[in-house]
Structure formats: structure tokens, C-alpha cells
């Protein structure tokens, strides 16, 4: 898996499929209010599109796609988005995660809650995507002790 596949059909197919899976993942995240889906499912779909490229390509190519050094920090950023949304409402004088106090101008409470949920879904999606890819990368981490 580290060295990828040599079959051109697999390379081509995975390169064709990956963007559509990613697009569907985005759709699932942002359409989660109206249909089944949400941050976690969309994030897992995004992660599967990246893992598909990771399985099919060589390491040099798939690192251009998504560098594995960014996995954990971006996951932390994703959780921080969630945390920050909650913390803003705490600073505004309410309880933690009380979306009705978010400082968006000109919205009624129900809309504020709508956008609050959307924001945290984006955070969830980012975190789940990066962390699942990071788990995959770390499981494949080659051990240099044995090769030397």
C-alpha cells in the first residue's frame, strides 16, 4: 500500500472517483439540516475519498494531495471550531453552546440556532476527515528500526 498500485485502470478510476466522493461529502455536510447526514457522515466520506487516493497512488503523489503532517493539527482546528462556537456564547453571557447568543446581526433565534448547528457541523466534518486520514497514515507508518 505504501508503494501504490501499478495498474493504470485503478489509477485512473480512483482519480476520477475521488472528486465526486468529495463533492458528495460536502453535500452531506451542508445539507444535513434537510436530509440524513451531517458533519460526521460527510467527514467520513471526505476521508474515504482521500484514503482512496492514498491506496491507489504512490506516496509522493498522495502527499501532494493531503500532507500527513497536517492531520493532527487540522483535527485540533476542527475541534477548536466547535469549541470556539460554544465559547463565544459563554463569553456573551449565556451558557456554553447556547447558539441564541451568537453575535450574528439581524437574525431571529431560530436562524441563529440553524447557523450555529451549521458551524459546528463544519468543525465536525473537518475534524473527522483529518483524524481518520491521520489514523490511516499512522497505521501505515513504516518502522525504520527493522530496515536498518
Amino acid at each position: 500500500m505504501k508503494h501504490g498500485s501499478s495498474s493504470p485502470i485503478i489509477l485512473l478510476l480512483s482519480r476520477v472517483l475521488s472528486p465526486y466522493i468529495m463533492l458528495f461529502g460536502m453535500y452531506v455536510i451542508f445539507h444535513g439540516h434537510y436530509s440524513p447526514g451531517g458533519g460526521f457522515q460527510g467527514g467520513a466520506l471526505l476521508a474515504s475519498s482521500i484514503i482512496l487516493i492514498r491506496i491507489a497512488m504512490e506516496e509522493k503523489v498522495h502527499q501532494l494531495h493531503f500532507n500527513k503532517a497536517y492531520g493532527i493539527p487540522l483535527g485540533a482546528v476542527g475541534v477548536l471550531i466547535f469549541f470556539g462556537v460554544g465559547f463565544i456564547s459563554l463569553i456573551m453571557g449565556g451558557y456554553f453552546l447556547d447558539y441564541s447568543l451568537l453575535p450574528f446581526p439581524g437574525m431571529i433565534t431560530a436562524e441563529l440556532r440553524f447557523y450555529g448547528i451549521l458551524l459546528i457541523e463544519v468543525g465536525v466534518g473537518l475534524a473527522v476527515m483529518t483524524i481518520l486520514v491521520a489514523i490511516y497514515d499512522n497505521l501505515l507508518e513504516e518502522d525504520d528500526d527493522e530496515s536498518i
Binding site: 440524513p36 476542527g78 456554553f96 440556532r113 448547528i117
Partner: protein, 104 residues
């Protein structure tokens, strides 16, 4: 030892079968979970969610509302769990050897 394990699995299964005597039937609309108020008069959460999810958050998908608003702190916990899994894999498996090799 093996028989002890099988016996404890059997006891576990019997215990769960015994629990079935108190459970409401499958899909029973009169079960306490599906009422509007509980035995002590407090509101039952699920009925409140069904009635007010649209009014409170403008969202037709009730599961999203429950997950993102009413019980959002559970979702934060879920996020932390998945973040923990990532950083634990990093802690256990990452060796940070490459940089050292480059220095030499």
C-alpha cells in the same frame, strides 16, 4: 475455565431475557418514552424534540437538531473521542525518526 466463561455468557443471556418481562413491546406507542410527560410530571425529552425542533432551530431533520443543539455537548464529547483516537495513534506509532536521519 472455559466452562466458567460459557456459564457466565449463559447467565448474561438469561439476565437479559428476564429483563424483557418489563420492557414495553416493540413499537408500543403507549410506552413511557413516547408520552408527553413522565411519571413525575417533567416533560419527556423525545416528545418535546419532535414538537419543537422546527420551531427552535428551523431544521426539519430532528436528529441534526438533537445532535447539534439540544445535546450538543455530547457531540463535543464525540469529537473529542475521535480526536483522542487520532492523537493516540500518533503517540503510539509515530517515531519521529525521519528528521533525525536527515540531520545525520
Amino acid at each position: 475455565m472455559k466452562y466458567l466463561t460459557f456459564m457466565s455468557i449463559g447467565v448474561f443471556a438469561l439476565l437479559l431475557i428476564y429483563a424483557a418481562y418489563g420492557l414495553p413491546y416493540r413499537g408500543d406507542p403507549n410506552a413511557l418514552v413516547n408520552q408527553e410527560i413522565s411519571l413525575t410530571g417533567t416533560p419527556v425529552a423525545s416528545s418535546y424534540y419532535i414538537e419543537n425542533a422546527m420551531k427552535d432551530a428551523n431544521t426539519p431533520n430532528m436528529v441534526t437538531t438533537v445532535l447539534g443543539d439540544y445535546r450538543a455537548f455530547d457531540t463535543l464529547g464525540e469529537e473529542v473521542v475521535i480526536f483522542a483516537a487520532g492523537i493516540i495513534c500518533f503517540l503510539l506509532l509515530n517515531r519521529e525518526r525521519k528528521r533525525e536521519a536527515r540531520k545525520q
